[in-house]
Amino acid sequence: MQFMKFLIFNYFLIFLANVCIAQDQRLFEINEVVIRDKTLVKIIDDFSEEKMISDSLYRSGLGYLIISGVNLTKDAPEGSRQSFYLNIDYFDFDGGSKLPISYGYTSKGRPILIYTSNISEVDTLNRYKDSNNFKKVVEPYLPPIIEISDLMDPNKKVKARASYRIQMHGGLYLFKMVDNTYKAIKPVYIFKK
């Protein structure tokens, strides 16, 4: 009987440990991170600064940066071992759009959304168990939410964005070379099968 209790207790502990692990995984969902790769950080900062000059919408305070993973193609520079795509964007996350893996900030405070696990050298500043915190971070950089009459029922009020904007082109392809340097290419489209 005693032994049975012991077994049940152990099972309970195993169950609890599983719950802990599961919760821990959820805690890592969209973390605030700092990219450790200083060269990459500088490239991102410079890119953001360039957009501050060349893009009035971005300069006016809207928009965030995105960095995503890109498959290497045969057109990639020789010696590339990883490739990324860097750009700005304005799209909202209201409709359950693709959420990033993590996010950080440029040195001037613009959010940078990280969509690739290839940037593994990061320091996690904060762990958030759901996407709400992330959405709060991005919200100031999105067109504001307004209340409008429903399209079909004027008496009903619905939430909408004051404007919907999406960035088309103008990004930067980054290739991390075997010697850890970067090559940046800025075309609209260049890569073939």
């Binding site: 919408l57 193609t73 960035q167």
Partner: protein, 502 residues
């Protein structure tokens, strides 16, 4: 012996069980405690030091700017000889290393030297510990400004409230400040910041409050046309902008137009345009780009008026006055642009956007009834284009009705909430570089990240690209991009192949 042995074994197992239990209990307790700490781990980030100073103090300005190499404030010499602070570059949140955040807000006031500029530095304490140098520098600056303002009769509080020595005014002022700041927070499109100041000899009365409403991207309209059709900017500003502004202002307010700072986003590098006038007539002071104007960003306006909550006296409902600045923001209802071009003949339209814009990328949508609306013309190096509003799974192109209805009639179009909503079935944009790079811009090319992002944003409609003698389509990819190439829908003359876009 065997009895003794079995007794010993029993005792041993009992002891083991006990110690196991004890050990497990500790593990259990540790797990519970660590879980508790994990879930409660929350850092407080909002301790802030605030300092305020006059923007005219160039010494401090340069001292702030020199902090860790970050420049907060950019002076720009306007053609009329005034120094105007470049607002949009002034609102920065800067990280020092990765541990200190400083936020600078500099409303732009240089109106006959009548209103002090001020600057607020928020020093985020969470990051303070590892940046002693920055902290001491900022503290030093803070002291300088405390002294500066003290000599001018101001007190500095730690909560960004400007306290004036006139206590009566201060009471009213701080209430308004609170009210506004409660509703208009950093990052909102419209920021309301009040600069209060006694006007001892003003004809407008004893207590005049000055407000700076700073925002961006408040209003968007196509106010000009591409391809050398010229401006009608001033007319459009008078006809559209001012009535819109009138809707927004509190009763009895006076707007100083010489503080309206408008960005006009054009097809190339966007430039600021300052409108300046003595009173109500707007004059274009600087015109830097005359092509393809797509939107206006209102950056900053100043308003003055009675500090009294009853406003101009004829309000009736007690709802006039500056308290309601934050409540009168239906400004946003005017956002959205009428399509630049509309084509009932889709093929003619597709042909036009390919032939007429050899140096631009053109973006638009095919409507539900197979017409074409062109919404954006951006440079080869890209730009923001107009997105869609999702209502019950139908994607609509929304735009303000300020400029009137669209030229064409569209099946399923809705006019509601001050906007028109045109239902669309596909996006289309040009791959202009293929005109000269020896490719068709489609065949064998992998779907680019941006094109994929568009498809991810609107996966329920089709997406097409027009290249040089080729039309491609693509679907959203959910992994790393460059997994698949554009589907080549057709090759050959666009007029003959355009039917594949629908």
């Amino acid at each position: 012996m065997s009895k003794y042995a079995s007794l010993k074994t029993g005792l041993n197992s009992c002891l083991t069980l006990k110690s196991n239990l004890k050990g497990n209990l500790w593990i259990f307790l540790i797990t519970v405690v660590s879980l508790f700490f994990n879930s409660c781990k929350e850092e407080i980030y909002n301790n802030k030091d605030v300092m305020i100073y006059s923007g005219k103090d160039k010494v401090l300005l340069s001292a702030i700017s020199s902090l860790n190499g970050s420049s907060f404030l950019v002076h720009r010499e306007q053609t009329d000889g005034h120094n105007v602070y470049d607002w949009d570059k002034a609102l920065y949140k800067s990280n020092f290393g990765d541990k200190t955040t400083i936020q600078v807000i500099v409303p732009r006031f240089e109106v006959n030297n009548s209103i002090d500029s001020y600057l607020i530095v928020d020093l985020d304490k969470r990051l303070a510990a590892e940046n002693i140098e920055i902290i001491s520098a900022v503290n030093k600056l803070s002291k300088t400004y405390t002294d500066h303002f003290a000599s001018a009769g101001y007190k500095i509080s730690r909560n960004s409230v400007i306290e004036e020595k006139n206590e009566q005014l201060h009471d009213k002022v701080s209430k308004k400040e609170m009210l506004i700041s409660n509703h208009v927070k950093r990052g909102d499109y419209l920021k309301a910041r009040k600069v209060d100041r006694k006007t001892s000899t003003s004809a407008r009365g004893q207590n005049t409050c000055y407000y700076s409403l700073s925002g961006s991207y408040m209003w968007e309209a196509n106010i000009g046309a591409c391809q050398g059709m010229g401006w009608t900017t001033t007319d459009q500003i008078q006809n559209i902008f001012l009535p819109t502004l009138a809707n927004f202002l509190p009763d009895g307010a006076t707007v100083y137009y010489n503080n309206i700072f408008i960005f006009i986003e054009a097809d190339n590098l966007s430039e600021g345009v300052v409108y300046s006038a003595v009173s109500s007539a707007l004059q274009l002071m600087q015109q830097t780009n005359s092509n393809c104007i797509t939107s206006i960003h209102l950056i900053n306006i100043n308003i003055s008026g009675s500090c009294n909550s009853s406003g101009g006296g004829s309000g009736g409902g007690g709802s006039s006055g500056f308290e309601n600045v934050e409540a009168t923001m239906p400004f946003w209802a005017y956002l959205g642009s009428k399509p630049l071009y509309e084509y009932s003949d889709k093929c003619a339209g597709l042909n036009n956007i390919w032939n007429d814009f050899p140096d631009n990328e053109v973006f638009g949508y095919v409507t539900q009834d197979y017409k074409l609306i062109v919404t954006d013309v951006v440079t080869i190096s890209g730009g923001a284009v107009s997105g869609l509003y999702n209502h019950d799974g139908v994607l609509y192109y929304p735009f303000s009705d300020v400029n009137g209805p669209p030229t064409e009639n569209y099946a399923g179009m809705v006019h509601a909430a001050g906007k028109y909503f045109i239902p669309v079935r596909a996006s289309v944009h040009t791959h202009t570089p293929s005109r000269s790079d020896g490719t068709d811009g489609v065949t064998n090319f992998m779907v680019s990240s941006d094109d994929n992002a568009l498809a991810l944003a609107y996966p329920t409609i089709k997406h097409f690209v027009i290249g040089n003698g080729a039309i491609g389509s693509y679907l959203p990819q959910y992994g790393p991009v460059y997994s698949s190439a554009y589907n080549v829908e057709a090759t050959g003359n666009l007029l003959a192949t355009c039917y594949v876009i629908y």
